[in-house]
Symmetry: C2
Subunit: 393 residues, 2 copies
């Protein structure tokens, strides 16, 4: 187990109807003026927008609104948000939505308190020294941004999708009501499920040794996610399954399951080029890239993949044929992704094999000539993984 720091100060408020208390919770923070930040029309259609407005008004909390965050949130709206917060002397940002809204809120929160261009954080030219506090009402369990230090923003002009992180950006509070996810289309539910599973894989498929406790916690969470996903397919209003998915998405990325381990974000990096080029749903891109990455790196640590296969996917033990067992685990992962309606090849995700050179070009800008810690990948390796992802069977 490696030395670690773990710091997750977010207050998680979870369950039925909890979002109705958001005004009261904000009152505790002694806010002067709130930026109510959200995405498209879904929160207006499902009544959450009205719930929030009512709760803010009941507590006489002054606020301004900024909607319009898109999936793969863009820099343009972040600049707008920073300007609005400064003009209106906003001292708290309430993000109501999924990871895109929360990430946009975090970027604004850091940008407001920074004299330079907020993109400097994503260029890793500087780190966050101060930020507005952010609170969350979560509507899409997926990115785990409600409990994480991370944010990912796309610089639209250049097609660059990049992440950064700071403990100062961990939300102060996070409301999550599983019932709010009943109306989420299966596509978004499934993409969110892939995203949280990917957050676990990035912690699980590493070279860290002697981390049996977190190995088991990661495996337990994966098994629970898949079990709940299979319930939701036929019963989208099953509270318990939705609750499992909501909470699993949070713990998959707030750090608790990865303490003392290396983390490996290579597959996320490979996927970011897909979602930047095609505006692809992040989870769909991960469903395409993860099996390909796993197959390509199988022999890097056959025991790790063997353990994944047996402990998570229920492949029977066969120590004489470890590689076969390990591969069968990946085959079952692909089967699961298909079962929940996710694409598992570039073509199924409406991406094109002939665009691979473009992906590699952007990858070179974002990640350099080589990257990764489970194994070091060159750009040639990355090309081979994209090619593996494009082979329709």
């Amino acid at each position: 187990m490696d030395n670690f720091k773990f710091y997750s100060p977010t207050e998680f408020i979870f369950g039925k109807d909890v979002e109705q208390e958001v005004g009261k919770r904000l009152k505790q923070e002694n806010v002067t003026k709130v930026l109510f930040h959200y995405g498209g029309g879904s929160i207006k259609r499902n009544g959450l927008y009205d719930t929030v407005i009512k709760s803010l008004n009941e507590e006489n909390i002054d606020f301004v609104e900024l909607g319009g965050v898109k999936p793969n949130p863009i820099d343009g709206l972040v600049y707008d948000g920073i300007e609005l917060c400064r003009k209106e002397s906003v001292d708290f940002i309430l993000a109501v939505g999924g990871g895109s809204v929360i990430d946009s809120a975090k970027a604004i929160a850091a940008g407001v308190k920074y004299d330079g261009d907020f993109w400097d954080f994503f260029d890793h030219k500087t780190t966050v020294k101060e930020a507005l506090p952010v609170g969350v009402i979560l509507t899409i369990p997926a990115a785990g941004s409600e409990g994480s230090s991370a944010a990912v923003i796309t610089k639209e002009d250049e097609g660059l999708k990049r992440g950064m992180g700071s403990d100062l950006l961990r939300p102060v509070f996070s409301f999550s009501n599983p019932e709010l996810t009943y109306s989420l289309p299966m596509w978004h539910t499934a993409a969110g499920i892939v995203d949280m599973m990917a957050h676990i894989f990035e912690r699980y498929i590493t070279k860290s040794e002697n981390v049996v406790l977190t190995d088991r916690l990661l495996e337990s969470t994966l098994v629970s996610i898949m079990e709940a996903a299979r319930v939701i397919i036929t019963d989208p209003e099953n509270y318990e399954a939705r609750a499992t998915i909501c909470w699993a998405g949070t713990i998959a990325h707030n750090g608790i399951l990865g303490v003392g381990r290396e983390e490996e974000w290579t597959t996320h990096g490979l996927e970011h080029e897909l979602s930047a080029l095609y505006d692809m749903t992040h989870g769909a891109g991960l469903a395409v890239m993860f099996p390909a990455y796993m197959m390509y790196t199988l022999n890097e640590d056959i025991d790790r993949y063997y353990r994944l296969a047996t402990e998570v996917f229920g492949v029977p033990h066969d120590y004489e044929h470890k590689e076969r067992v390990a591969e069968e685990g990946i085959v079952r992962l692909v089967g699961f992704f298909n079962e929940i309606g996710m694409p598992t090849s570039l073509e199924e995700a409406d991406a094109k094999k002939e665009d691979i050179p473009k992906l590699i070009e952007k990858l070179k800008i974002n990640k350099g000539e080589s990257f990764g810690n489970f194994t070091t990948l060159t750009l040639d390796d990355a090309r081979a993984i994209y090619e593996l992802a494009s082979e329709e069977e």
Copy 2:
């Protein structure tokens, strides 16, 4: 899954040599004067006392000392600590030790900021509204107090051992270096292991339904604890096993494994009477009381005990004989406790069957005529459980 709030703002700093940074970490808190609170001579013998003094001096941090905390910490020293903090204008308490030291620190932290008698918190006459911040260097993985909101203090004159909790008492930071536990005698190591397992049982043996994710997380932690314990018996300086125990002890009680579940603290209550009457090590008392409680309540929820037996203790499935399987799980738990040198009957723990009326008398004062939520126990039930615990086989 029940609605829940989960809030664990403690910064956990974990691994080799981390305690050397305590001065730097305190500096971040802008402290004026620190109370350095500890127990007996063990930290002087193993060098930790000197490490702390050196680190405080390097950062020019002003401090006063208060040692002498005993296992089952008593009210007398808490009063001394409160007086000392007021006299010396202390604004931060650094607890260096195990649960007893940390609990004593928490009681002082709350007491300093309260005009009345600090015991009012433990009498549940009032709740904590304000407290000094507390930081921790953990030396005994057991109570989980380094990450919890709870504290337990014994009122010496009346032999009352009581607990209370407040999120204001969650430590600001907690250092844990598994190497510091190498020199811990096996008895204390084992008692700590029982304590953390008990914290898991109090969350696991409940009537909460549809909590499969936390069921699995709890089971994973139990399995990992027992596996590591068996390594430590023969190899007390095995870093990885010690690290597993240290971190498991923290997550067993900071709340993360119990979200959305009922909690059941009845067995802790039954044990508190033992440690109050005999000054028994808390973990040893729990090793005596838990199997008895489980056996007595077996038919309250046979499926729960069946699951415990099969998932944690590896008892083979036999749906035709659920009760036998469930009982076998408890038998294996007793076996494990014996394996690590813990007593599993009153007599083995130097307690006497004829004292049961005294235990019941105190229990009545502390818990009333009936208590519990997994099942409601009367004082007659409690008597039967103590009697069950006294049957030597």
